[in-house]
């Protein structure tokens, strides 16, 4: 537990010291909001502000995942610190769990950034749901994205082309999350993939919470997210074993 906290605290420092990361959590949300605003500004429906907010937020979350699970890890690989983390008495997944959570906590600030822009710069009214709903949703986002991000970290840890693939995945993920078009319009096999993405459920959930009368406890999206979190949790355990095997048996960790 203490390790998790130390890992978390130092990750805050490291991330914030990187201008790329400050860009991801502050500038990027602003740019995405502006771009989507202009693309959608002819759209004639009442809650365009909320629509913008949901889409931009999910795009930002994905950017932060890309950042935390991949470019950060690649960096660790390049600095050669994976070995000394791996060979320490602490379980690898706790160490990297701390790092991922730290990045996500920072990344969730981008929600605030896009909210402020939409509400005050573009003057589109967003009616926030009550505090409890917000906290619940925040918590759900945090755990579901932590597990996804950690899962992806493992997946790409020993992959040389990690950065390449994750960049390539950006727009497909947006599409599959239902940002540009309704998921029902996609072919069935793509729909199945989209069920496996927390972003799909988050888009649904975020749309729902702006309906004041909606009780999120009855939302299928909440349960979808919980189930996915559990699934990715199992995935992490499996991946951890695979990774240990790859390092110890196949000798794929290039310590030297």
């Amino acid at each position: 537990m203490r390790v998790l906290l130390t890992s978390l605290r130092l990750q805050f420092k490291q991330s914030l010291s990187r201008s790329t990361y400050r860009f991801v959590i502050i500038i990027q949300p602003i740019l995405n909001t502006i771009l989507l605003y202009f693309i959608l500004s002819n759209k004639n429906f009442v809650n365009v502000g909320e629509y913008l907010f949901v889409n931009v937020s999910v795009m930002n979350l994905w950017s932060s995942i890309v950042f935390s699970s991949l470019s950060d890890l690649t960096r660790e690989k390049r600095m050669g610190v994976l070995g000394s983390n791996f060979a320490s008495p602490v379980k690898f997944q706790w160490i990297y769990g701390g790092k991922v959570i730290a990045n996500l906590i920072l990344a969730l600030w981008s929600f605030a950034v896009s909210y402020l822009i939409i509400q005050y710069v573009f003057d589109l009214n967003i009616v926030l749901p009550n505090v409890y709903t917000l906290i619940t949703v925040y918590f759900l986002l945090l755990i579901s994205f932590t597990t996804l991000s950690l899962f992806l970290s493992y997946f790409f840890l020993l992959n040389r082309q990690a950065i390449f693939w994750i960049n390539v995945l950006e727009y497909p993920i947006y599409l599959l999350s239902g940002i540009a078009t309704s998921i029902q319009k996609l072919p069935w096999f793509l729909q199945i993939i989209s069920w496996l993405l927390p972003t799909k459920w988050i888009v649904g959930l975020l749309h729902q919470i702006f309906n004041a009368k909606y009780n999120i406890l009855t939302s299928a999206n909440v349960y979808g997210l919980l189930i996915l979190t559990a699934l990715y949790g199992i995935g992490i355990i499996v991946m951890n074993n695979i990774m240990e095997r790859k390092i110890l048996v196949e000798g794929q960790l290039e310590v030297y």
Binding site: K13, A87, Y256
Partner: protein
């Protein structure tokens, strides 16, 4: 058995190569390191030194054989030994460049469950030891190579390791820092830390090691104290000579038989460029007549000539040249 802190018993390690074939990096290595001693591991590039170090650092499992550390069988108990070992690999790796030296040490010490006052004290002590106290709050990316290397050393000592593994730890250190590093190592060993290290600087190895192991192409070719290694080759006779007009083994033997007679039997013959040959010869009659010998040298157009104890450098070349 328990006097050994590190014990490798017929350890092999193969790597899968890109084309699918197996490459044997370590072949049935057996090696023992006594508690509180310094053991040097030398050998040419690709000999398998780093592979050995990785296995002992719990970063790699052997393909076969048994590894025991402080009496615990390693393969199935990785976590049981991790608290008590640490490693320092040469170069600038193993550090977070965007954190300060102090933060790096905080981070890694947390991985070894150091906390509170104990943690602070330890970090302070180590920063002083590697002389980084003044720059402890600067980011590592602003450090020179040598400073990063010294910080690595501090990192490797955070958990007071009972076994310390060093893979080319002095690479990139200037003479003075390397000297200070050697003192640290001696001091640690005197206090009971067991140390296994690799290096390409033979002078340093001879200077530091209680025992030395020479490894070549994944196999141990010699092991023991420097004295033992020396007498292994040199106890009978070790000849290092620069000879004119010697082109092959047969000629060399004929030449030397003229002096040594039938008593000579060549155990190893190595030819190098520039007419330098090295031979390990056995003699049934070990008594050498200095007067006869020098007249032989003069008559045989042998320009340089040495009989007796080889230097570590010669021992090394003797064993590692094919």
């Amino acid at each position: 058995m328990n006097e050994y802190m590190i014990n490798l018993d017929k350890v092999s390690r193969t790597y899968k190569e890109k084309n699918g074939t197996d490459f044997v990096a370590l072949n049935q290595i057996s090696l023992n390191v006594k508690k509180g001693t310094i053991h040097g591991l030398i050998g040419p590039n690709g000999a398998g030194k780093s592979t050995t170090m990785k296995i002992l650092s719990t970063l790699l499992l052997p393909s076969s054989g048994t590894v025991t550390m402080k009496g615990i069988e390693l393969q199935s108990n990785l976590n049981a030994v991790r608290q008590d070992i640490n490693f320092i690999y040469g170069g600038e790796r193993d550090l977070y460049w965007r954190l300060t030296a102090r933060e790096n040490l905080e981070y890694f010490s947390a991985l070894y469950s150091l906390k509170g006052v104990e943690q602070k004290e330890k970090i302070k002590e180590l920063l002083e030891l590697v002389q980084l106290t003044d720059v402890a709050n600067k980011k590592v990316e602003t450090y020179s190579k040598g400073m990063k290397q010294r910080l690595q050393i501090a990192r490797g000592l955070l958990n007071n390791p009972r076994i310390l593994l060093l893979d080319e730890p002095t690479i990139g250190l200037d003479r003075q820092s390397a000297e200070e590093f050697k003192n640290i190592i001696r001091h640690l060993a005197a206090n009971g830390t067991t140390i296994l290290f690799t290096s390409h600087y033979l002078e340093e190895v001879e200077d530091l090691s209680d025992e030395i192991t020479i490894i070549s192409r994944g196999e141990i070719v010699a092991s023991g104290t420097a004295q033992e290694l020396r007498s292994n080759i040199g106890k009978e006779l070790y000849v290092h000579a620069v000879v004119e007009n010697v082109v092959n083994r047969k000629q060399a033997i004929t030449l030397f038989s003229r002096y040594f007679g039938d008593e000579l039997s060549v155990e190893k013959y190595v030819e190098r460029t520039g007419n330098v040959i090295e031979m390990k010869v056995s003699l049934s009659n070990k008594k050498l007549d200095d007067v006869k010998l020098s007249s032989f040298v003069q008559n045989s157009k042998i320009r340089e000539w040495k009989i007796g104890s080889p230097s570590l450098d010669e021992i090394y070349r003797y064993y590692t040249t094919v």
